[in-house]
């Protein structure tokens, strides 16, 4: 009935989505490699009663028209790829990427996933895997009697056997980057999958070529890039916006009630 009622409902629904995005960011404040998300909104189409610039009744051009907007919609949830802070764990198989890039892992259906979470482990066969057991690419096996595992800034994984002084290379971590990392689709499990929006994966080695400003660091992990203060402020604005929209809904309802009670 009153357009305002429906418009305010779209506003309230968008603030619900905003709250969902904020709460996901806050829930993942301690998730390794998590990248925060920001919800973006767009106004809906407007109903035009008089087009600006048309000739009016007096024969003159109208400087403004009459347009009433119909509300708001969620247009994007943009993932923000700023770096998270690095913290020391001391684990030989924990790695973090400084700069652009993702680790590449192979999923159980043969496709590839990309992640910033470098908390790698060894499976029963000694292969380097993620916490879910997905094999880190390229597949590399750490032998059982490794006294020391060294991962240098190029991502080269070398092993020193017990009783030997020599470091032998067992593999080199592949780095992948995308023209539009925000176009990747999040799969959960700290993994992302490629989509046509992200562009083709560009593979390489850290510190070389496309990845000249990227470094792999051993013994540390990258925490999430969520800023709690920023999220709490967004929470306050979302809550107040929701309140304001619900006030508009209440006012529209009261106006309708008055119309019905005119006599």
């Amino acid at each position: 009935m009153l357009r305002a009622l429906y418009t305010a409902a779209t506003g309230a629904k968008c603030q619900q989505v905003n709250m969902d995005v904020i709460s996901n960011n806050v829930a993942n404040v301690n998730t390794t490699g998590f990248k925060k998300v920001r919800a973006e909104f767009q106004d809906l189409l407007s109903q035009t009663f008089k087009t600006p610039g048309t000739i009016g009744d007096q024969g003159t051009t109208l400087p403004t028209g009459v347009q009433v907007g119909l509300g708001v919609k969620t247009t994007a949830t943009q993932r923000i790829f700023t770096p998270g802070s690095i913290f020391d764990t001391g684990n030989a198989l924990d790695v973090a990427i400084e700069g652009d890039g993702f680790f590449k892992v192979q999923l159980d259906n043969g496709e590839f996933g990309y992640t910033r979470d470098g908390s790698f482990k060894r499976d029963a066969n000694g292969q380097l895997v993620t916490s879910d057991g997905f094999v880190v690419q390229p597949a590399m096996t750490i032998p059982n009697n490794a006294a020391e595992i060294s991962i240098d800034k190029n991502g080269t994984v070398s092993v020193r056997q017990a009783g030997s002084e020599v470091l032998t290379q067992v593999g080199q971590l592949i780095m992948v980057k995308f023209a539009n990392p925000a176009g990747l689709i999040a799969m959960g499990h700290n993994l992302h999958r490629v989509t046509p929006a992200a562009g083709d994966p560009i593979e390489g080695i850290a510190t070389q070529g496309d990845f000249a400003s990227t470094m792999v660091m051993q013994g540390v992990l990258e925490s999430s890039n969520v800023q709690i203060v920023e999220e709490l402020i967004n929470l306050i604005t979302a809550q107040r916006a929701f309140e304001a929209n619900s006030n508009v809904m209440k006012a529209s309802d009261e106006m309708l009630q008055r119309v019905n009670n005119i006599v």
Partner: protein, 257 residues
């Protein structure tokens, strides 16, 4: 005038139906896999109004409608939110499609999005109403999902492969339809279909330990309630006015004194 009262009454009846549907949607706001329905209304067929005059006889002067009626109710198949429960037999479909379940004592399959399965005493994977989850055996053959006794670990991966203690039992069948709106609602979250599901289904992922909640949005239903109430009130006022006019007609027009 009396025509107007019936028109307004028809409008009130449709608003009551809308209120019933809204109440149903709200009552099921926590039912897993529930899909809201929305009512569709249309006006009655138009009727010709004629004017009788001495010179020209009966002349049609235009058309009017006699109110609104329920045209149908359509089901909204938007996905609900996924909630993590941690139960190994809770499943959610991430994408289009339905679980295929066979009710007890029936040969026809029915379809549902609600993934809150449990085990029967015989070990069958069943819905709360007792329908058994169907596994895909290939070439359109389907078989009941039965968990052997003494199973310690039930694992279902993203492709829907059901493994018990590491042994593959089968792949959970996900049915997709060309026209989901042709499905008929049977219970709170179950549907039946006259046409069989598509032979080629697009890839969907299954999440174990998650349940899909109802896709009802409290704000939308509230707005429907508010507008429904105000429309109902307006029509009630309209009936009241027409009644007063009729009363004037009966009691005052043509009164000689």
């Amino acid at each position: 005038m009396i025509k107007g009262i019936y028109t307004a009454a028809a409008g009130m009846v449709t608003q009551m139906i809308q209120a019933d549907i809204t109440a149903d949607n709200l009552a099921n706001i926590n039912t897993p896999g529930f899909k809201t329905s929305s009512a569709q209304f249309q006006s009655f067929g138009e009727a010709l109004i004629s004017r009788m005059s001495k010179q020209d006889g009966v002349n049609p002067i235009g058309k009017t409608s006699y109110g609104s009626q329920l045209y149908g109710s359509s089901i909204n198949f938007q996905a609900g939110d996924l909630v993590q429960t941690g139960n190994p037999l809770d499943l959610a479909i991430h994408g289009d499609g339905f679980f295929v379940v066979k009710p007890q004592g029936s040969t026809e399959n029915i379809y549902t999005r609600a993934g809150n399965f449990t085990q029967s005493p015989e070990g069958k994977v069943i819905t709360p109403e007792g329908a058994v989850l169907q596994l895909d055996k290939g070439e359109g053959q389907m078989v009941d999902a039965v968990i052997p006794k003494g199973a310690r670990q039930i694992a279902i991966n993203n492709q829907g492969e059901l493994r018990v203690d590491g042994n593959l039992l089968g792949k959970i069948k996900v049915a997709q339809f060309e026209d989901p709106h042709a499905l008929k609602r049977l219970g709170a979250a179950t549907f039946s279909s006259e046409k069989p599901p598509l032979a080629q289904a697009t890839q969907v992922t299954l999440e174990q330990g998650f349940i899909e909640r109802s896709n009802g949005n409290a704000i939308s239903e509230l707005v429907n309630s508010m507008t429904g109430l105000r429309a109902y009130e307006t029509m009630q006022k309209s009936i009241s006015f027409q009644n007063q006019t009729l009363e004037k007609l009966m009691n005052e027009v043509g009164k000689s004194s």
